[in-house]
């Protein structure tokens, strides 16, 4: 048995991070769960053929890729840099420091901020959420803990840059964001997932919005081809809290992503907007999900996708209204445009309503080609066809891009989109 333990991936991570025993126990339990769970059958993504190889974690830092280094250098607000599961840099702005905001590594937080950490870590995305949530809990390495005290309103965002350089082990980053009552925060995650080795990656973000606090969570992801990326981002709201998601995805790899708000508190709200540009041979499945539990909760999901090449992108908007969520209201709009005829798009709206007394429940979904009459109109003013198409697609994605919280983030998404549209 001793030899087996020496090769145990959990031990490798735990030893490298030198963390308290309680955390390693959580990992062990999660690993057992991970191994016992069957590979789930997803309707739109065949997981039987994907790799579940986790490799061997190494905490010795990889080189920070040049594009990432210059991106991080340009960030003026509070930020953290996580490379291959290792927190490399944390910068807290004067504003955030003055307001008592905490930004530390998720590993340090379990001792330095044990009380809040214990209350929420693993409570929003528990290990038994899915096979990949179990994997993340077992092997999580790299990520931050953000805590905003009562009433603190942050003007500038906090951004975490996650980098996977494609080294031969699973990336299982994990962060936890907690706002106390009446606090305001914009939290952002920008990912650089380089292509390369085939490993299974699982990223988790847990967000807890206490009473009447408000959080915008913005993400700019680019899962490049190579690994299999699972992403679970979930927020939970107390009474009158608001969580708004802004998701910009420009992947060409394989990813299964969940963006979810659990509207637990009465009168809480969530608005999710997703912009996806699939290209190459991307197989990306994004589920934006709202679970209404509290009374008079409100949600809206708006997903816009544009697809190039042989990309296969699935947008699912899922609204669940639990029994007791009296007076809940929700809207969904999904729209996908296939720029190239070789792409495949699925827009799947789902409404699961267990409460009779609901306010409104609208949904609209469409998949189509770019409108030829819009192209004609722009061309009739002298604009060449390729430019016209770019302008229209761009116009259709831009609201989400403009909602991103910083110039740096907007610019990186703009450059990712333009790179793919200009071809």
């Amino acid at each position: 048995m001793g030899e087996v333990t020496a090769l145990n991936p959990v031990l490798r991570v735990a030893q490298a991070l030198q963390e308290p025993k309680v955390v390693t126990e959580k990992r062990d339990a999660a690993w057992k769960l991970y191994e016992s769970l069957e590979v789930p059958r997803l309707e739109k993504t065949d997981l039987r053929r994907v790799t579940w190889d986790v490799g061997e974690f190494e905490a010795t830092g990889a080189e920070v890729p040049e594009d990432v280094a210059s991106y991080v250098q340009g960030i003026e607000h509070s930020c953290a840099l996580v490379v291959d599961g290792v927190v490399r840099e944390i910068r807290l702005s004067d504003e955030a420091q003055a307001k008592g905001v905490v930004l530390v590594s998720i590993h340090d937080a379990c001792t330095t901020h044990a009380e809040v950490w214990n209350r929420h870590f693993g409570a929003i995305v528990p290990a038994d959420d899915s096979k990949w949530a179990a994997l993340n809990m077992a092997l999580f390495a790299g990520g931050v803990f953000v805590h905003v005290p009562r009433g603190a309103e942050l003007e500038h965002p906090i951004e975490v840059v996650y980098v996977w350089t494609g080294r031969p082990f699973s990336a299982c980053s994990r962060s936890l964001v907690v706002t106390e009552p009446l606090a305001r925060l914009r939290y952002a995650e920008t990912t650089f997932a380089k292509g390369g080795e085939r490993f299974v990656n699982s990223h988790v973000l847990e967000v807890f919005a206490s009473q009447a606090s408000s959080i915008q969570v913005a993400t700019a992801d680019e899962w490049r081809k190579g690994g299999m990326h699972f992403v679970t981002r979930r927020a939970k709201t107390e009474n009158d809290a608001e969580v708004d998601w802004v998701v910009a995805d420009t992947s060409d790899g394989q990813a299964v992503e969940l963006v979810e708000s659990e509207l637990a508190g009465q009168g809480s709200r969530s608005f999710t907007r997703v912009m996806g540009l699939g290209h190459g041979r991307a197989h990306v499945e994004i589920t934006a999900s709202m679970r209404h539990v509290g009374r008079h909760t409100e949600s809206e999901i708006s997903m816009h996708g544009a697809l190039r090449d042989r990309a296969n992108v699935i947008f699912r908007s899922r609204t669940q209204i639990e029994k007791g969520a009296v007076g809940a209201g929700s809207e969904q709009h999904d729209r996908m445009i296939m720029v190239d005829g070789t792409a495949r798009a699925d827009a799947i709206p789902m409404l699961l309503i267990d409460e009779n007394d609901v306010e409104r429940c609208g949904h609209a979904a469409s998949v189509g080609k770019i409108d030829p009459l819009q192209v004609y109109y722009l061309m009739s003013r002298g604009i060449p066809q390729s430019t016209a198409v770019q302008m229209i697609i761009w116009g259709y994605l831009r609201d989400t891009v403009e909602a991103l919280p910083s110039d740096a983030m907007r610019q990186i998404v703009v450059s990712r989109v333009e790179r793919e549209l200009a071809r």
Binding site: Q374, L378, M379, S380, R381, G382, I383, P384, I392, G395
Partner: protein, 261 residues
């Protein structure tokens, strides 16, 4: 620059396999204003769309020439860059593309690479033209035609025309849905552009607009053909006596494009 010279010969156009235009001839030179009048459903918009190269309209016979260039061999954007402009009856809405960005991109496409208009100069001109057309400055950053009222769309078409300075401008029912004040503003926009460097084709089924923009030639369209041409007086006559008078004179029973059963 020489005066624009625009010639249409024996134009036949089909929509969805149905022949709508059955031989149209026109000759418009710089400095001239031609009006095409006619009841609804007689093929006026079809003519405008076919000239611009709308994808639903297929030219089956005939020729279109602008300044000696064969228009039918050009793509839609090439036609525009050659100097054709169509103010559309139902312009498309394009969310996410601002009016100003659209017009600037169009103008620069027309001027060509290396000859782009400086941004400040562009905005000065845009603001000026918008003022002349009584368009609220906020419309520069509004998304193209999205949520515009009928009248706002019409004025926006005229704004684009004023900014792009075409050689041949076709205005399709630019007067429909406009109140008298808006009509005067639009007419004034057209009259300001009037010069030897531009020729106009104004499509309308009321004479009202022609009180403010006096045409040199008036054509009447019925059954997909020009059935009568004259000077400005013809429009007045039509206003006074109605189209029925002309139908009787020409022995036409149904003026619309016949559809074979």
């Amino acid at each position: 620059m020489s005066k624009p010279d625009f010639v249409i010969r024996n134009l036949h156009v089909q929509v969805e396999g149905k022949e709508i235009l059955k031989g149209v001839d026109l000759h418009i030179r710089g400095g001239e204003i031609h009006a095409i009048m006619g009841p609804n459903g007689t093929g006026k918009s079809t003519l405008a769309s076919a000239i611009m190269g709308h994808p639903h309209y297929e030219v089956t016979e005939g020729e279109i020439w602008l300044d000696g260039q064969n228009v039918l061999e050009m793509s839609v954007d090439e036609r525009a860059r050659a100097g054709l402009f169509l103010a559309m009856q139902y312009p498309a809405e394009v969310p996410g593309v601002s009016n100003a960005n659209f017009i600037r991109t169009a103008l620069n496409a027309r001027r060509g690479e290396g000859n782009e208009i400086p941004v400040l100069q562009f905005h000065r001109r845009l603001v000026q033209k918008m003022k002349e057309l009584s368009i609220d400055p906020s419309f520069a950053e509004r998304y193209l035609n999205e949520g515009f009222s009928g009248g706002e769309k019409k004025r926006n078409e005229i704004l684009q025309m004023a900014m792009l300075e075409p050689r041949i401008a076709i205005l399709d029912e630019i007067d429909s849905g406009l109140d008298i004040d808006a009509l005067k503003i639009v007419a004034n926009g057209v009259n300001q552009l009037r010069s030897d460097n531009i020729g106009f084709l104004i499509i309308t089924h009321y004479q009202r607009l022609l009180n403010y923009i006096v045409p040199d030639v008036v054509h009447v369209m019925m059954q997909g053909r020009i059935v009568k041409s004259g000077d400005a007086k013809l429009a007045e006559e039509l206003e006074a006596k109605g189209y029925d008078w002309l139908k009787q004179e020409l022995g036409i029973e149904d003026e619309t494009v016949e559809v074979e059963a």
